[in-house]
Amino acid sequence: MKREIMVGTVAFNRRLGDRLYHMAVRLPDLIPDPHPGQFVMIRPTSSEWPLLSRPFSIYRFSGTKDRATLEILYRVVGRGTEIMSFLKSGSRVSVLGPLGRGFLVDENCNCHILIAGGMGIAPISYLADHLRAILPSEKDIIACLGARSGFDLFGLEHFRKLVCSLNLVTEDGTMGVCGLLTDILPGVLRDCDPERTAIYACGPMGMLRSLADSLSAEGNWKCQVAVEERMACGVGACLGCVLPVIDGRGRVVHKSVCKEGPVFKLQEIWWEGK
């Protein structure tokens, strides 16, 4: 199937908070609906800096008869994202994607638990939209959203409409429970059956590592996580974005986050290599 890099137009680029932005890009052609967990590589076309595109999880996507709009959330963490934050509507950006392997949904599970830390809320929110659309109403969708402070939590109204139960955690206590996501996890899992529960998570690596420890202490839970890593090509050629994982034979191998991820099984990740 022929693919190509697209040139899209920024529809809006809104500042949501401290270094936090929400951008929508209109694409010239209709593309198939991305899977939750997939990402796109974006860079402004009008400048030679940044040289490389930056990867962004898909936050929202809408495809109509002949065009598509995708939305991303991003935080300014370096030169590339800083330049992105200056783009105005009408600016042209190159877009490669959707890329990577997204979350797999086991529709037999009764209980679907979404865990999002910080910017992880972007792919998890897209996943929540997807789950609500495909799952019958008797399946439970529970969301746990965590951040440093209440100022970093957004899109809550949208989440409330999609999920049965919404649990908020902030490190400074300005919203929800004061603490970390892993603090509330035992309570959330208490009424769930590991065999019929699917957990999906995205957040900083430190959070995912704590999650791995908590979940293994709590039993045999099926959990998929979306990770991120600095990228150059986005298609699995340069081998810049590897994650050490334990393969089927118990050996540690390097998998490309862009191509074999960004979604991995949580228990596969080899933490000593991070």
């Binding site: 400048s47 081998l239 974005c241």
Partner: protein
């Protein structure tokens, strides 16, 4: 600024002139190849690029055993380029032959196997095996690897080591033999001449320049390996200068690599003395960049009435007195 960068170099995929070049016995349908380490084993970009239109693909460097490569972070963007410390992760030559080569053989594209070794013996083992298989059209020897028998000094920094690797590999293969030089040397011409005298059919240059980048908040290097190889537009002036110097001193063909992002860049290298070029980092910015470069080159040839791209090789004119006077 916006107009200049967005302007697509006009050209067509129809070329009335000849684009075929000969690299020491390796016949290429056109002078555009992809650089080792930037195009995987071809499959990754196959849906973005018409592989049948490419002059050649230089696959990721192959070692005898599979290599896991370095722990991350492995890459970091720097102004006009990027650093990489991948650590030569590859599937190993035997897995390449078994799993990756069959895909490439479906296409009408020259396959050049880049070879890596930590010892001369390893270079020989890998080269010998590749020489026996159908589908590999040439070998490109990466001499930027550390020689573990000599305390980790890179082969490519010592003309005697360059000569030794070249002549030993020459002894085990009759495939066209390209030696890819490291720029991290005082005199690149000495290295190129050593390779030529030892039997190389062509010289590819340059490999990456060694560099580093520091995270000032955390006070650690951005790369887990501390240093890495710099590639991209930032290195083009160095690569171009080295191609020009080497092409003036050796008789074998030179392949120019280093920061080529568009057709004009490729033409600069050819005019400076390269018979062919390799495109690397640019593939990450636009997977189809090689096709645009080809289109741009044919457009240039049509505009200048050139019947054969070989007419352009090494045609850099030096300033004459009358030009200097006109400038004053």
């Amino acid at each position: 600024m916006e107009k200049k960068i967005e302007k697509k170099i006009s050209g067509t995929s129809e070329c009335t002139g000849n684009l075929a070049v000969n690299i020491g016995g390796l016949r290429l349908k056109n002078p555009v190849l992809t650089a080792s380490g930037t195009f995987g084993y071809g499959e990754e970009f196959a849906s973005y690029v018409d592989l049948n239109r490419l002059g050649g693909i230089v696959v990721k460097g192959l070692s005898w055993q599979p290599r896991k490569g370095n722990p991350g972070p492995r890459i970091m963007e720097t102004p006009g380029g990027m650093l990489n410390a991948i650590g030569l992760q590859n599937v190993g030559v035997r897995n390449f032959i078994r799993e990756k080569l069959p895909f490439l053989r479906r296409y009408d594209v020259a396959v050049i196997a880049n070879v890596y070794g930590e010892t001369v013996e390893e270079y020989l083992r890998v080269s010998e095996l590749l020489t026996t298989v159908t589908g590999v059209h040439a070998l490109e020897i990466n001499v930027s690897c550390p020689n573990v028998r000599k305390g980790g000094v890179a082969f490519g920094t010592d003309p005697d080591m360059v000569a030794e690797v070249t002549s030993r590999v020459r002894g085990v293969t009759d495939l066209p033999l390209l030696i890819k030089l490291s720029p991290n040397v005082t005199d690149i011409v000495v290295m190129a001449k050593a390779a030529e005298a030892a039997g190389a059919d062509a010289i590819s240059l340059i490999n990456t320049l060694t560099g580093m980048s520091v995270d000032v908040e955390r006070r650690i290097p951005h790369l887990r390996n501390v240093t890495g190889g710099l590639s991209g537009p930032a290195i083009k002036p160095v690569a171009l200068r080295m191609v020009w110097q080497v092409a003036a001193e050796v008789r074998i063909p030179v392949i120019g690599v280093g920061g080529i992002m568009n057709a004009d860049d490729a033409l600069e290298f050819i005019i400076a003395g390269a018979t062919a070029v390799q495109v690397g980092t640019a593939n990450f910015v636009n997977p189809a960049v090689t096709m645009e470069i080809l289109n741009g080159m044919t457009g240039y040839m049509n505009r200048h009435g050139l019947q054969d791209v070989n007419e352009l090789v090494g045609t850099l004119r030096l300033w004459t007195e009358s030009e200097e006077e006109r400038k004053r």
